[in-house]
Amino acid sequence: MELIKKQTHIDFMGKFKAAMVFSGLLILTGIASIAMHGGLKYGIDFEGGTLVQLKFPEAPAIDSIRSGLREIGFADSTIQEFGSPEHILIRVIRAEGKLEAMGTKIKNALEEKKGFTGIIIERVEMVGPKVGKDLRMKALLSIVYAIIGIVIYISWRFELQYAIAAIIALLHDVMVTMGAFSVMDKEFTLVIVAAFLTIIGYSLNDTIVVFDRIRENTRRKSKESLSDTINTSINQTLSRTLLTSGTTLLVVVALFFLGGEIIHDFSFALLVGVVIGTYSSIFIASVFLVYWESRAHPKRPA
């Protein structure tokens, strides 16, 4: 079987304006959403706080939980269903420095004051504000380090402008995914940073396959304009790009639907990242490569 029967000759470079507009819109939507939400929405990993996941024998009334929490002074908590109505996730803004059994405290309050029975504490996560700040810094640094490491490697294997184009593509991917997170009102946690680093790796993987072909073709047919070479290269690698994205998407979709609630956001990030990463390695990275090359070698027709 073949996805793409013959060698395609799609004019990708000719569509770059449309791609720029499309990407621009995506990124602007993301930025607008982040601005409207008053910044990124951090999870307890980065902001500090306590998360308590409870399992009720049957779906509880959220209002009743809320008033129970108010009675023990946690009026400002957020309460949400987690995957199914029996699973409730409570986020208490305040992180207790004291060694207090927050889960037990909430469970007892709900059982004694609101008449719930058989509540199971499934998960408690507490991060102090100090640690949250540390982690935020560490997460940011890790993304910066990853990018630096990758620039060095690509500059060494290819040339600097390839590295810059690749970085622009991956920043594009990270920004779009961040925007999607903000639009969907999802929280940033440590695990999401892990997903971002994976997206960075994946996006580059795709980009490099295309770049590799461009490099190979530039050596062979130097008469052709760079823009044409890039177009040919993208077409030649198109079936591979789609295939790999396809198989990766298959598993990520499996993870998204079957992996359970806890890594749901993680798989959501990967889902968006894989689709965007594929798109950007075709449309974004190459365009910037042409742009840089035409500036570096103005005589060559771009």
Binding site: G128, A194, R240, L255, I262
Partner: protein
């Protein structure tokens, strides 16, 4: 037969058998992370300054009494907790020589200056002593936590110092993790102090607490352990005896009161101090203070010899049991602050494992079906490489003793999706070569050769990201990074080396005109 195959095939077989042996049986060889088996991950900070403060407070009270014992009239002894300075103010400068002699016994302090013509002496805690108390507090806290966990009998705990003053505690699933967390974290400083009988608590509240005394609360509980009353007591600050001098603590049951109590044994020094204290204070009330709360304040009826005492205080059986454990394991030298707590209950862990395995299976089946339809016979080679990839991944996880976490499972799934990429790169290249009219043999050679560089470049970048992730990540995320790293390395081996060898083996058997790809 192809010459290189003579060593390639045995090597591949060795890898298959070796990694299978490492990984099987899975249940025994693969450690599950705390998020999958349920468990507790705690980061605690030792408030070591408190240990310094506490020891200074002790010294201050000791000095006051030591000077009194030598008939030196003292106006005041003042402790500045921020600078760790103790000021001794005498009534008459004539006593300065005698006072200095007394203070020479306190080697941790050094004399800074004498003020007001010998009326006031300034002593400060020496820097090396400060460091020593701080370091000691961390080590002691570590020791006490270890003792407490040992006594409770938790299996496979991890207890280690992180950085300078943080302690990491991890242990796998227990029924009520929050109870254990409390047990680990409570200071359990047991002190015996006299009740100040010169004034009632109510009077002290309005007229002020006499110097050298303070108000401490007794929380009276009902049978269910609920606090029903809070009684204030005026207690002298001077500590007569502490829980440091205990040799044992056990839960007993008082049949008359129908409630459990904790029986304690002092060591010989503690026993004789206790005897002295009780002998000198008959008919007075002795407050038993635990972490600045009065547990009970019985009247001393007669001197108690033999070094045994009991602590009653309306305990539930569990309270008494935990108090006994804490007293046996010793007090923490300072308060602990919880910086991070990640607790996963066992049922959630099981659900996660199930969900993870389901998504691996479904994802894997989907990829396999797709690849078989797409590449037909060559697809079988790719699927073989994929399965081997998984075997290597699991074997390596087992070998490194790395824990499989929920993000780690995601890493495996991702590896399945991405590992196929290397094969796809090669196969697409082979198809291209066939399309331009090369023979099967030449197309395979060219396909592998040309794809190799791409595969390396594309994977190294992901590898860099994974390494950074490993450096930065904690617990579960490290697990993800490890699986990703191993997966990438394994996929390069299987796709490039194993697939190649498989093709070569087929090619060497007979001349193939058309490749099923």
């Amino acid at each position: 037969m192809h010459k290189e195959l003579r060593w390639k095939i045995p090597l591949i077989l060795f890898v298959v058998v070796g990694f299978s042996w490492l990984a099987w049986p899975l249940e025994e060889k693969i450690n599950l992370g705390l998020d999958l088996q349920g468990g507790v991950h705690l980061v605690l900070e030792v408030e070591a300054e408190e240990a310094v403060e506490f020891s200074m407070e002790q010294r201050k009270e000791d000095i006051k009494h030591a000077l009194g014992d030598d008939d030196i009239e003292v106006d005041r002894v003042i402790l500045n907790k921020d600078t760790n300075v103790i000021r001794v103010i005498l009534v008459d400068a004539i006593d300065i020589k005698g006072a200095e002699d007394v203070l020479k016994n306190y080697t941790a302090l050094e004399k800074k200056e004498t003020l007001r013509g010998g009326l006031e002496m300034v002593y400060q805690l020496r820097d090396d002593e400060y460091e020593y108390i701080m370091d000691n507090a961390i080590q002691q806290a570590l020791e006490v936590i270890r003792n407490r966990i040992d006594i409770v009998g938790l299996s496979e705990p991890t207890i280690q110092v992180q950085g300078t003053r943080r302690i990491l505690v991890q242990f796998p699933g227990v029924d009520d993790p929050e109870k254990i967390i409390k047990l680990i974290g409570e200071t359990a400083r047991l002190e015996f102090k006299l009740i100040d009988e010169s004034i009632s608590a109510a009077a002290a509240k309005t007229r002020g607490v006499p110097p050298g005394s303070e108000i401490l609360i007794e929380k009276v509980k009902d049978k269910a352990g609920k606090i029903i009353e809070e009684i204030p007591h005026v207690v002298k600050k001077r500590v007569l005896l502490t829980g440091d001098m205990l040799t044992g603590a056990d839960v007993r049951f008082d049949n008359q009161l129908n409630e459990p109590y904790v029986a304690i044994n002092f060591d010989s020094l503690g026993g004789s101090i206790f005897f002295e204290v009780t002998k000198n204070n008959v008919k007075k009330r002795l407050a038993i203070v635990l972490d600045d709360n009065v547990v009970s304040a019985p009247v001393i009826n007669e001197p108690i010899a033999g070094g045994r005492a009991s602590i009653t205080g309306g305990f539930t059986t569990e309270d008494a049991k935990f108090l006994a454990i804490k007293l046996r394991a010793g007090a923490l030298p300072a308060k602990l602050t919880m910086l991070e707590n990640r607790t996963v209950g066992p049922s959630l862990g099981r659900d996660s494992v199930e969900a993870g395995i389901n998504s691996i299976i479904i994802g894997m089946v989907a990829v396999v079906v797709f690849i078989l339809i797409y590449y037909r016979l060559s697809g079988v080679v790719a699927v073989g490489a994929l399965v081997l990839n998984l075997v290597i991944l699991l074997g390596a996880l087992a070998y490194f003793g790395a824990s499989l976490t929920l993000p780690g499972i995601a890493g495996i799934i991702l590896t399945v999706g991405m590992a196929i990429d290397a094969n796809v790169l090669v196969f697409e290249r082979i198809r291209e070569e066939i399309r331009v009219g090369k023979t099967v043999r030449a197309a395979i050679d060219a396909g592998f050769a040309k794809a190799f560089r791409t595969i390396v470049d594309a994977n190294v970048t992901t590898f860099i990201a994974a390494i950074v992730l490993f450096q930065f990540g904690t617990g579960p995320i490290k697990g993800f990074a490890i699986t990703l790293c191993i997966g990438i390395a394994a996929s390069m081996f299987t796709a490039v080396f194993v697939s190649r060898a498989t093709f070569d083996t087929f090619m060497s058997r007979k001349k193939i005109e058309r490749l099923s790809i």
